[in-house]
Every structure is written in C-alpha cells, then in structure tokens.
C-alpha cells in the first residue's frame, strides 16, 4: 500500500489528530517518561504483591495501569507508521488478544504461581496492549473504534456477571468475596461507560458544534 493510501485511511478516524498531536514533541517525551516511570513502579515486587493480593486491585488497577504505561510510552512512537498497520487493525487485534489472555482466570493464577508467567504479564501488558493501542487506535476508523468499545463494555459486563454467578471460585488464588466485589465493580463500570456513551450518542458530543437541541426555535415546542 502506498503512503498516500495510508494517509487517506487514517483520515477516516475522525478525532485521530487530537490523540496524535503529541507525536515527536515535548508532550510525547513527557508522556513517555511518565509511562516508563509508571512501569518501573508497577514492576517493583512490593507493588506487584500489593496489587495482586486482591482480584479487584489486580483487574481494575494493575492491569489497566500496566497497559496505560505502555500507551504513554507508545505515544512517543506515534510517528512510527509502518504501512502494514496503516488502518490500525493488526495492532488492535494483537492488543485485544493479549488483553483477553490476561483475563483468563487460569492465566491470572499462573502469574501468581510462577515467576516466568508473572514476568510475561508485566512485560506483555505494556508491550502487547498499551503500545499497540497507542500506535493503532488513532489510525482506526470510527466503525472499528465503536465496535471495540461496544465489545469491551459487553465483555466487562459478561465477566462481572460470571464472577457473581459462578458457583465456586473462578481463581484458585482469590477469595470468593473478592470475586463478588470484582463482579459488582465490573458490572458497575460497564454500566457507567455504556450510559455515558449512550448520553453522548443521544444528547450529542458537547465538543461538536452540531448538537444543541436547546437551540431549536421556540415555535417547535409541543407542550
């Protein structure tokens, strides 16, 4: 594919430019520094111990922060634009694949039971989720982004429901109560994100000019 094709594909993703604005500049350097510092803190043994002591902290703090550290570092690479990732799909599929792997209860158990798995987790969440997301999300079309977001919301709700409905513990290393709290947290999170998306869809994005049902002429009022 020519670079011209890549550019036109990229322009399909409407708000992409705002995410890419830091590429190469001082902002992206600060962002990369923040990401690297965050990762260093997250891999410290006292930090992994604390965050992995509970399923809730592990799923809703440790995993997202590890991905965030990669994302922040990846912004520095935003100008690295291989033509094979022009539409962002390869990178997004890798990110979804790696993130899904670490949602498997047996993978979470394995990270606690064996050091190689733990190292794999601490490395693959920034490298395999955060960085590919930073490189690929800005290039993805709004259709792809909406699809991913909708799936993430329903997946969080499904996992939350499973945690609440499972007759036994899902993870060998986490307590039943902890699992239930995590289930409630995931269901709440997906509800909040879904609601805010719905509000944005129906009430319009306040950042855009075109919204404002309030500006309808008063003559159209039906009450």
């Amino acid at each position: 594919m020519t670079s011209g094709g890549a550019t036109s594909l990229r322009s399909v993703g409407g708000g992409a430019t705002s995410l890419r604005s830091g590429g190469g500049g001082a902002t992206s350097l600060r962002s990369a520094g923040f990401g690297a510092a965050l990762l260093v803190v997250l891999v410290l043994p006292p930090c992994t111990r604390a965050l992995e002591s509970q399923l809730l902290l592990q799923q809703l703090v440790q995993v997202p922060l590890l991905a965030l550290s990669g994302w922040a570092m990846g912004r520095r690479l935003a100008d690295f634009n291989p033509h094979w990732n022009a539409d962002g799909l390869p990178g997004l599929i890798v990110a979804v694949g790696v993130a899904s792997f670490w949602m498997l209860p047996r993978a979470m158990d394995a990270a606690l039971a064996s050091l190689p798995f733990e190292i794999a987790k601490l490395a693959s969440l920034p490298l395999g989720v955060g960085i590919p997301l930073a490189l690929s999300w800005p290039r993805a079309s709004s259709l792809v982004r909406t699809f991913l977001l909708a799936n993430a919301i329903s997946m969080a709700a499904l996992v939350g429901w499973l945690y609440l409905a499972a007759p036994l513990r899902v993870c060998n290393f986490y307590l039943r109560d902890d699992q239930e709290w995590t289930g409630i947290a995931l269901l709440s999170l997906s509800a909040v994100v879904a609601l805010s998306c719905a509000l944005r869809c129906f009430l319009g994005d306040p950042s855009r000019e075109a919204l404002a049902p309030a500006r309808l002429p008063t003559g159209h009022r039906v009450d």
Binding site: W84, A86, L89, P90, I93, G97, F101, R106, L168, N172
Partner: protein, 203 residues
Amino acid sequence: MSANRVATAIALVASTLLGVLATDGLRAFTTEGARRLDIAARPRALPVVRLEPASGETLASDALHGRVVLVDFIYTHCAAVCPLLSERFGELQSALRERGLEGQVELLSVSFDPARDTASRLAEYGIHVSADPALWRLARVPDPTELEVWLRSFGITVIPDGRGGFEHNAAIHVVDGRGRLVAVFDLERGRDALDAALAEPRG
C-alpha cells in the same frame, strides 16, 4: 493483497491460536478446569505419605492400595464448602452400604489443617457427620512437608480467608487401586464419581 491485510490476517490467526492454546482448545478457562483435564488425560501417581486417621494409629497411604478411594480435602472448622462435601460423602456412604461395596470402594476425607484437626477432633467430626469408619475414613497428614507434597500432587490450592479459615478447591477425587489419581468430579456429581470408581480396576 496489501501488507496491511496480510498483517491483519496474521494478527487474527495469532490471537486465535493464543486463545485456543491457552484454554486447551476452549475446554479449560480456570486452573481447576485445567487440572481436571490434565488428570483425566494423564493419571497422576501419588506419593506415599503418612496418614493419621481419627482412630489414632497411623498408616502409610499405600495401605489403601487394592481398593478405589474417593478422596476429598476438608478442615473441620469450615463453614462454607466442607459441610456440603461431607453431606455428599454421607450420601456416597449410604450408596456404598446399599450396594454392598465395602472393601471395594472407600471414602477418605483428608484434613489440610493438622494444627487444629487433631485425631480426636476428627473423631468428633466423624460422629457429627455420621461417618462409619469401615466405609469413610477421616484423616490428617501430620507431617507438614508431606501434606504440602500431597496437596501439590492433587493440585489443591489452600489460601487463608483472613478470618481464621481457608478457601480451597472442593471436589471429589477418584484414586485407583494402584494409588493413581485418575479423575476429579464436582461435588454435585457424587454418583458419577462412584460410577467412575467402580469402572476402575482395583488391583
């Protein structure tokens, strides 16, 4: 085909492969599921440990060879899942008695809390759950290292619950007449565990 399409296809195949490999072909999503699949595919020879039953005199676990043993892991202070396990073992005990299977199939409840579960405490618990010593043995593994080795061989994870108790895998384990762990069943599948036990060779 563009490089972008090729990369997308490769990423899709790789992600799918990762998912399939990580779940034993979409069959096991949890450690417990993986343990059961592994045991069914590759029966585990169990190491010999010293057991101290409620009756007091210790015996080596290989003294149980020659009959099929259904094993569960409990602690007597348990208020959550162990009473359910013991209820199922009580039903299995009645089934063994009705079908005249004494000497062919035996029930064994192993405590993983040897500090609190002394032989006399186990004897009390046995009376509480109406365990008949001829059919259903309650025992502790007095040596902590041997207990650790046995738990690891079975694949049992015990974690403290922060309130003086434990959480642990709750299942019915089928050990054949040669001392090999051959199958694991949900506690609600006691009948199937018994059928599996009867299908196993005893010698």
